[in-house]
Amino acid sequence: MEQVLQQLINGISLGSIYALIALGYTMVYGIINLINFAHGDIYMIGAYVGYAVTRFLGLGFVPALLISMATCSILGILIEKVAYKPLRNASRISALITAIAVSLFLQYTMMYFVKPDTRTFPDVLSSNKISILGGKALLDTKNIYIILITIVLMLLLQYVVLKTKIGKAMRAVALDKDVAQLMGVDINRIISFTFAIGSALAGAAGVLVGVYYNTINPLMGTVPGLKAFVAAVLGGIGLIPGAVFGGFFLGMVETLVSAYGGSIFKDAVAFGILIIVLLIKPSGLLGKTVKEKV
């Protein structure tokens, strides 16, 4: 029982990371129907920005988080403008191939500058173990930080998407581009904004991972990027609540499989679930019941 609790806490933390990354995938897909395979690498760059800010500038965790989010959002806007915008009317496969190329470009450019070695992330968050439930489980303060920050970011996102003018325009563009344009919405501005928000969330995830797992490297974006993509599809691609649900679900499943089945199976189980969901409910687990699409 103690162990289950402990694993659940770890699962939620891992799930937070997946959910933050998955949100970017799903929002971009909702707006321009593109699977942005470079998204995982934006997360990697977010981790490096956090690393640089804490190690070389000596700043703390919160500034690192904010600077990383800002940098990634600019990077996201640039990538869209340079790589994807010229392909707006091209076939989907051209855009997809380009996304993979951007991903490789980011990985190997980073590798050139920061070297392929794994680096140790500075210890910017004190890690205190708190025993909860009468000593049945240990809660690391780092877990609390990750979960809290994820929740705050998700609430903020929810506020922006549901309540602000630009958020409403985003939903309108996702639903009907032509008509949104007829209302006077500048589609390019909304697409840039979507990339900015999605990339900022990935940047935050990068810093959180650096803090939580302590090590970063230029290829660290590949597997979590793929997993977050799986999470987005599991929940229903294009659906914001779907990405959150898919992220937590996947994090939980992976953690439990590693704990009880052996960690070599965890990826197989993740992709196995993806295949089963795609066979049974291709629109994703929340695909029909939740109608909000961004």
Binding site: A169, D176, V179, A180, G184
Partner: protein, 234 residues
């Protein structure tokens, strides 16, 4: 107010609108009628900037608008209510209306206009917070028109507002169109329901295979043998 001179629109090799010229004066209701595929929607799309007019001129109050973006055309005072309603189905009624006011900065005026729309369409007021996709066809059409009005247009382009609606609702929609016109908004009404359209409008154009076939006063068109035979019977 609006003048199209020799407008041509292409979809790749398809020449959908051929040398169309038409005119709307201040305060008029002008109707453009024609069969399915005649080029009615394409004409409206070229006015609103959704499709490019390859050759010819579109002037609104003396200003050339055929190279402007849809956003700038809305800001000038032309609003296009598209065919098939095209409301934002997963957003609420209120959010749809807010989207209609997207280009406006005068918060107070926008608020007043919400009330105006609700007095024009009381049924929308009751359903303010409802998801638009759950409205009936007639209500969705009202919402589409209300959304179009939220930009405070001087010219309203209506694309087949009666499509797929029960006769009694069609009547209601047409009487609302007349009311909107009485408020001083000029209207270009595209319809397949020629009978109703000719009854509410001042002048009419008949379009066929992308070309204007006939134009004149609506009253006279209602009596015209050729029009009767092709568009009013059956």
């Amino acid at each position: 107010m609006l003048e199209l001179s020799n407008v041509n629109v292409y979809y790749g090799p398809i020449h959908a609108v051929k040398n169309i010229s038409l005119k709307i004066e201040e305060g008029e209701i002008v109707t453009l009628i024609g069969a399915n595929g005649a080029g009615k929607s394409t004409t409206l799309k070229s006015i609103s900037g959704l499709e490019k007019c390859e050759a010819g001129e579109i002037k609104f109050r003396g200003e050339n608008i055929h190279s402007l973006t849809p956003t700038n055309i809305v800001k000038l005072g032309i609003s296009y209510v598209p065919e098939g309603r095209r409301i934002f189905s997963k957003m609420t009624v209120m959010e749809n209306l807010e989207m209609g006011a997207y280009t406006r900065k005068d918060k107070k005026g926008v608020k007043e206009d919400f009330e105006k729309i609700f007095s024009l369409f009381p049924r929308l007021k009751e359903r303010k917070e409802q998801i638009a996709g759950t409205l009936s066809g007639g209500e969705q059409q009202m919402l589409a028109i209300g959304r179009g009005l939220m930009s405070r247009p001087q010219l309203l382009l209506l694309d087949e507002p009666s499509m797929g609606l029960a006769p009694i609702i069609v009547k209601e929609i047409f009487s609302i169109i007349e009311n909107i016109n009485k408020e001083g908004i000029s209207i270009l009404l595209v319809e397949q329901n020629a009978n109703m359209a000719l009854k509410v409008s001042d002048r009419a154009y008949i379009i066929r295979n992308g070309e204007i076939e006939l134009e004149g006063k609506s009253k006279e068109m209602l009596e015209d043998e050729r029009v009767k035979k092709a568009y009013l019977e059956g």
